[in-house]
Subunit: 411 residues, 2 copies
């Protein structure tokens, strides 16, 4: 898989990585004795991130309907940007001219950008996948583009996030073991190319590796061992939460986590819901990102400690209390559930903001509570207590929502 | 027009009004020698309002896309609520149960509610107009409702605004002198009924009178003299900005203002644009309200000292500076025009907020500048300088926008 040149490059990169500890580091503050949960601290050029952490998604250089100050107040420590969307509009070179994503969007905390690969496969009109990369047409105007492991490093350098991801390929669910292996092996080859290409760009950026392997336990373990052995300071687990039952996702992590180096932060890509956060932490995950909390908020789904409620429900019409009595978010501190219900019914824009702030704050408080429980040595009790009280959306509701969103996307 | 009972009531009301000076007062701080402009101070139970003032409109218990804290930061001193919308959804009794509009919507400053009449005539499916009142069907669900001078006082008492307006009738533009007189005279009879009915409700609320008379100078003068003679602590000028050329509107104010008592604040209902504020102040107006600044903002029209610009324009794509260099609003302090342009192109919700905040701040800074110029004795120079620099939307653009909004409303 590696020729001599890239092996030499990789050796040099290991050295580079060590000298880079000034710009990125991960420290483990505490570990759970009865699970793989751990609490840690990540240092980046734009700030410190306590883990476990939830990362709100700002696809188009904005977390939908929420301002940077509100994100900060809700406890956000790091947010995501989507390379696919940003490279197409407004363009990564334009963002670079504006000093990068941080100054363009007025967020001075850490940012992580993905590689754009996931969106190319799910949103773009894919034209051709080859060893070189992925050629596609923009979902906006049909213009032709190509992503390669190398140019993704350049695009992400232009965007200027603290943590960046390499181009990878995920296998659809379900897929054959052969397809799963093929996607994984190409992801591995692209990971090496990305590492080499990355060295030509901004040293202040940190490249994570991505583990693939679809839903084959042996491939997951193999991918984790391989990617974990490369000089990536952190690791993202990709290709999960792509339509499979949740039990399958958790099963895969049982193969992945033991095969990963203990010393690197682990990011579960595109996950998830409150219950996913609680369970994922116990399976060794440190970082989570998902549009779900803000997307379900915009549809009226609000998180409470007893489960997700629909604020559209008539029972909230006359509710004097906040969405959740004990919640410390801006929305719950200042508005009755009845007012939030009214705003949704009246289709007022302030609704989307108040609902999103509530769910983001819920996720970040949950992450902080998980961290505190790990530090206190009581994560298993916290997890069991949370899961006993929290009524998640059923698989059926999840499937219906997924179909609705997919249909909306295709319009 | 008045029977003996109501005359007796009105006499009592005059006394009541005087004893009400604790809850509402208007003081003239300075007057212009070369125009009818004046600077004043209004006291209400929820705070002090320096005049001239622009009042952002919060139709459905929210100024679209802007939070109360943001309104406050933009300099808002008083906002409007629309009785028609609020009585239908969520209902005035529900708002009363929540302690009134202030606490329901988390705005602790002064509020003014209109009577709902204007919306009944323009939005509702009007069924029957009689001496008793206006019967209509809700634009939301077709349910039957009736507004009378008396029940409007009760509905507005339930909403709990600081300043409330009585039910009135405006004549369409254009209309015959006969129709204009009929609408004016009914408005006058309803004004007296409203004064009597008002006395049964909250003493902390202040009822303004409404001047009508369509586009007949003599009727305008007659209406101003009549309404001005009743014990209303303030006066709103209604029935203008309903489709006529602007010159006709200003012509009418030349009949109205001299016929009004000097000592009461004057509110130009549903007006207007930046240039309207500047001109209207010179014609003796103290208070202005309009959805225009927030509505045009949501369509990309942003105010600058040299005129309205469209942020959608490609020239903003790479603009590093703010929308306006000298602007002190949250948007201009923190974001490039290019970012705002990007948000609009990407149809991101944050756009509507940033654009609305900019225009609201523009209107409130303009009102403060007008006040300062009156206090400094330099209003005419300020007016002439502003109008020489500011390029307003042409009558043609105004007509097109009006048609577009009307069409959108009917959908």
């Amino acid at each position: 898989m590696c020729d001599n040149t890239s092996t030499a490059n990789l050796t040099r990169l290991v050295v580079d990585q060590e000298s880079m500890s000034a710009v990125f580091s991960f420290r483990i503050d505490a570990e759970c004795h009865d699970s793989w949960a751990r609490a840690g601290t990540i240092q980046t050029p734009h700030g410190t991130i306590p883990t476990p952490i939830f990362m709100p998604v700002g696809t188009q250089a904005t977390v939908k309907s929420v301002s940077p100050e509100e994100l900060r107040e809700a406890g956000a420590k790091i947010i995501l940007g989507n390379t696919y969307h940003l490279m197409l509009r407004p363009g990564s070179k334009l963002i670079e001219e504006f000093g990068g994503l941080h100054s363009f969007m007025h967020w001075d905390g850490p940012i992580l950008t993905d590689s754009g690969g996931f969106q190319v496969f799910s949103l773009g009109h894919l034209r051709k996948l080859s060893e070189e990369g992925a050629a596609f047409k923009s979902h906006l105007d049909g213009s032709a583009h190509m992503l390669t492991p190398e140019n993704v490093m350049q695009i992400e350098a232009e965007l200027g996030a603290d943590i960046i991801l390499p181009l990878d390929i995920y296998a659809a669910y379900p897929c054959s073991p052969g397809d799963a292996r093929e996607a994984m092996e190409r992801t591995h080859r692209w990971a090496e190319r990305a590492l080499v290409a990355k060295a030509r760009h901004r040293p202040e950026q940190t490249l994570f590796g991505i583990v693939q392997g679809a839903f084959e336990g042996d491939l997951r373990a193999e991918s984790a061992a391989f990617i974990g052995s490369l000089p990536f300071p952190g690791l993202s687990i990709g290709g999960l939460s792509v339509g499979e039952p949740k039990a399958r996702m958790w099963e895969m992590l049982r193969y992945v986590t033991p095969a990963l180096p203990r010393s690197k932060p682990r990011h579960l890509l595109g996950v998830g819901s409150p219950e996913d956060l609680v369970i994922g932490v116990g399976l060794g995950m440190d970082m989570f990102d998902c549009v779900l909390p803000t997307r379900v908020a915009r549809h009226g789904g609000l998180f409470t400690r007893s489960g997700r409620v629909s604020i559209r429900n008539t029972r909230f019409r006359t509710e004097h209390g906040p969405i959740e009595e004990s919640c410390d978010c801006y929305t719950c501190r200042n508005y009755s559930a009845a007012y939030v219900h009214h705003l949704l019914r009246a289709e007022e824009q302030l609704f989307y903001r108040l609902a999103s702030i509530h769910n983001i704050r819920f996720m970040l408080r949950l992450a902080a509570d998980l961290r505190a429980s790990i530090l206190a040595g009581s994560y298993p009790a916290f997890r069991d207590d949370f899961l006993a009280r929290y009524r998640p959306a059923s698989e059926q509701v999840r499937d219906e929502q997924r179909e609705k969103w997919r249909a909306a996307k295709l319009r």
